[in-house]
């Protein structure tokens, strides 16, 4: 997808949200699901570029990657499915009736250091 655009949006959102906080941002934690359309490695690559000349410059990106999970009506339980392709239950092969996890694309938290200490 367009990970640079996503990274820039994260930087924009945080710059606004942290306006009232002092200090520098050392770590930004994101949650990226397997079905979100965003590739974590591409996002990491884009992060440094997106942060340039912003308050996030120098911060590191920590990504919590979430696997796709479906609800299987046949097995009557949640199952984790590999990849982001066909949402078939790995046990019985039936298509899942709904996606339970994997669509996440969230900013979880940031770590901030007081100026002069980072």
């Amino acid at each position: 997808m367009h990970e640079l655009s996503i990274a820039m949006r994260v930087v924009e959102t945080l710059t606004e949200d942290l306006a009232g906080e002092s200090g520098s941002v050392t770590v930004v934690r994101l949650r990226v699901g397997a079905l979100s359309g965003v590739v974590p490695d591409a996002l990491r690559f884009a992060w440094d570029v997106a942060c340039r000349e912003t308050r996030m410059e120098g911060s590191s990106l920590d990504i919590d990657e979430v696997a796709a999970r479906i609800w299987c009506d046949s097995c009557e339980r949640e199952q984790t499915v590999p990849g982001a392709f066909r949402m078939l239950c790995p046990i019985c092969g039936e298509p899942g009736s709904r996606v339970v996890a994997g669509r996440e694309l969230e900013i979880l938290s940031v770590e901030m250091a007081t100026d002069g200490q980072a």
């Binding site: 997808m1 367009h2 655009s5 996503i6 949006r9 994260v10 959102t13 945080l14 949200d17 942290l18 906080e21 200090g23 050392t26 770590v27 994101l30 079905l35 979100s36 359309g37 982001a84 392709f85 066909r86 949402m87 298509p95 996440e104 694309l105 969230e106 900013i107 979880l108 938290s109 940031v110 770590e111 901030m112 250091a113 007081t114 200490q117």
Partner: protein, 229 residues
């Protein structure tokens, strides 16, 4: 050493888009406007399909269109030849439309057409099957289009957009024989990604299969009009 501060954010990155999309959805519902978003690869035939669709629906319904392209006004110019208002959104660099584009366009197009008075608002998205999947525009219907020339495995290559769309149109059926299009295989591909998805096989140019598509759209538009107080 002082511990670093942890600040919880817990914000969806696309939250702003989704919130605005919901606002648009509420506005469209209040006005009784049926909104359809058309996505496909570049060159599938969205504009031609929309021209023929508009020609057949505009006798019964009041229609307006928003068209997204990276550059040029070409598609809006073509759509306007049908006699309905078409407003071009040029993204200049962005590969997809977002709800902010729609909101801004409706404001700018305000002098040109009154969206709240429409029965049908058509949104022709930027030609892209990847990024368009993630951005809710406040629409009632998302139509994914694929043509007979693109390969029967297209849905398998782009599962996300097919899964998130409501109906599928297979276009350029007039070329089916020439390109040895395998209808059964295409249906199987679609079924593997979204079982039971309604599929319309048609040719905008020859009119083949257009009746079923027009009937379906008419019913949807009428249903939404009926809800409008």
């Amino acid at each position: 050493m002082v511990k670093p501060r942890l600040i919880e954010v817990r914000k969806d990155i696309l939250k702003h888009n989704d919130d605005l999309a919901q606002e648009l959805r509420a506005r469209f519902r209040a006005a009784g406007v049926y909104v359809a978003n058309f996505v496909s690869s570049p060159g599938t035939g969205k504009t031609e399909l929309l021209i023929q669709t508009i020609k057949r629906l505009s006798e019964r319904f009041s229609i307006g269109t928003l068209v997204g392209d990276v550059e040029t006004e070409n598609d809006a110019i073509r759509l306007r030849e049908t006699g309905v208002p078409a407003y071009q959104i040029q993204t200049h660099h962005l590969c997809h439309l977002e709800s902010a584009h729609i909101d801004k366009a409706l404001g700018e197009a305000g002098e040109y057409f009154d969206v709240d008075s429409l029965d049908l608002l058509i949104i022709e998205n930027v030609g892209n099957l990847v990024c368009t999947a993630a951005y809710d525009l406040g629409e009632d219907l998302q139509v994914v289009m694929v043509s007979t020339t693109e390969g029967e495995d297209k849905p398998l290559k782009y599962p996300n957009i097919f899964d998130r769309s409501d109906v599928c149109i297979i276009s350029k059926m007039d070329l089916a024989e020439v390109v040895d299009f395998d209808q059964e295989q295409m249906r199987r591909s679609i079924d593997a990604i979204k079982p039971g998805m309604p599929v319309f096989e048609l040719s905008a140019m020859t009119g083949l299969g257009m009746d079923a598509w027009i009937d379906d759209m008419s019913a949807r538009i009428e249903a939404k009009k009926g809800l409008h107080v």
